[in-house]
Symmetry: C2
Subunit: 283 residues, 2 copies
């Protein structure tokens, strides 16, 4: 490939390990990548077909009894670019192999159940790539910020999340957890840009401003969630996201690495190819 590739793997440089602190991540930075914006855009587009091929292999294996599947969990403050990841990274994969779930404020029915109840329904089937646009982490983020859950309940939830994700991994799920990290200043810029463009007004919610006022509390809630739930089986990755082009290639690379790590192969025919070919010829 003639493209400028990552010098260091995002899977390692962006991974949340012991002692991690969100405050030390520069949302403007491009860890592991030395190229410019134009290089990043070329890389994104050049790697689309590789991502699509790996996803098709995963899908094909699923049809032949493999239990492997991939789950991308996206969390972020409003305007950080979750939608752009779906539209510009995930979109390269065949829609038939992607199960997308966007989790909004829970319904009354959902509230009447444990917080994982509505999540369980959307875990990806074998062979599929699942994408969670927001997730069960809302129950330890917004719930912590607004004290909708008390400390003991939050502790129960962190543990329940780890047990849940361990169960998913046990079933063959590779989990990629991503927090898109923008600065408070960048969010302001993006909110104003929405307000200045009539074709974007529908995306603007007055609730965004309400939550923005709790910015520091959210950062605390993220930090605690990272400490409690960045496990070996399902580590968190914090992706600097002030530069949209960087966030996209970083998430793309995380997906590529995850899929490469799954050792995917085209399933072998479970029939006699030559004999079948003869039958088709004669048909």
């Amino acid at each position: 490939m003639a493209e400028v590739e990552f010098a260091k793997s995002p899977a390692s440089v962006l991974r949340v390990g012991p002692g991690f602190s969100l405050a030390e991540v520069d949302p403007e930075s491009t860890p592991g990548y030395d190229g410019a914006k134009s290089d990043g855009k070329s890389l994104l587009s050049a790697q689309d077909s590789r991502l699509a091929e790996l996803q098709e292999k995963l899908f094909a294996e699923g049809k032949f009894g493999s239990t492997k599947r991939l789950l991308l969990i996206l969390q972020a403050m409003d305007t950080a670019g979750k939608g752009g990841i779906v539209g510009h990274v995930v979109a390269a994969m065949d829609p038939q192999g992607v199960q997308l779930a966007a989790f909004k404020a829970p319904t009354d029915e959902e509230k009447a159940h444990d917080f994982l109840w509505r999540i369980e329904k959307h875990v990806p089937d074998a062979g599929m790539v699942g994408v969670f646009d927001r997730s069960h982490y809302e129950d330890v983020l917004i719930h912590r910020v607004h004290a909708w859950a008390d400390p003991a309940e939050l502790e129960r939830r962190y543990a329940a999340i780890n047990a849940f994700e361990a169960g998913l991994a046990e079933q063959g799920t590779t989990i990629v957890k991503v927090m898109l990290n923008i600065s408070k200043q960048e969010q302001k810029k993006r909110l104003i840009a929405r307000l200045d463009d009539p074709s974007k007004h529908w995306k603007y919610s007055r609730g965004d401003l309400t939550e923005r006022a709790y910015w520091d509390d959210y950062m605390d809630a993220y930090n605690v969630a990272f400490q409690k739930t960045s496990t070996d089986i399902a580590p968190w990755h914090v992706v600097p996201a002030n530069k949209k082009w960087y966030a996209r290639i970083a998430v793309q690379q995380l997906l590529l690495d995850a899929l490469e790590g799954m050792q995917l192969n085209w399933p072998k025919a479970d029939f006699d190819v030559a004999a079948e070919r003869k039958l088709v010829e004669e048909s």
Copy 2:
């Protein structure tokens, strides 16, 4: 646009009207389009962004209370290219606004209900583009071919389908019904190509050959289904599909025309934009 566009609208030239006969359609033809393959490929890619924009408007309107939605129904013999339509036409739209349902052989639970029961669950939500990869039409196609339903039951189903689709239209659904029409000879070529490529073996099903033996019965079943269910509200379009590039631009154009016909607009802000902008500036 510098592209070679359709000389005649696929919505009219491909539409199944009175006296239509499948036998009179040449699967190699490119009705309404005078360009070459390379022109068609350029057109497909050039119109991606227009399709994406219209879909986003539909989605945006849905967020603001509109009941409009779009349903694309795809039917075809095996290998005709339904997957390619999803991967190369539908894929241009934001995955967040697309609800894809692939209908396989019904489960025992589904069989215990009326044939429309499983279909109802997948009709698109307001603002969404629904895509049916196979559909309720299987219940008057394969069921007719193998006489799994008797003539009286088939009549009941045609009527039930028309009533069902009229109800969808009443709820704000624009329905685009497409049959991808390949020749029996072309199917043979494609089945052999699958068998000659180990990365495609997983797509080959021995059942394909079984159904291929009933080719003429399927064509009869399609003809009858067209006569019974090509209504003003939900007309059928038969898309010649031996040339994949043509089938793709034809379906893309059908979707574009359907969306254009929906008179979509960006929703107006339901808040005071200037006041909100000031609040964001101060935040």
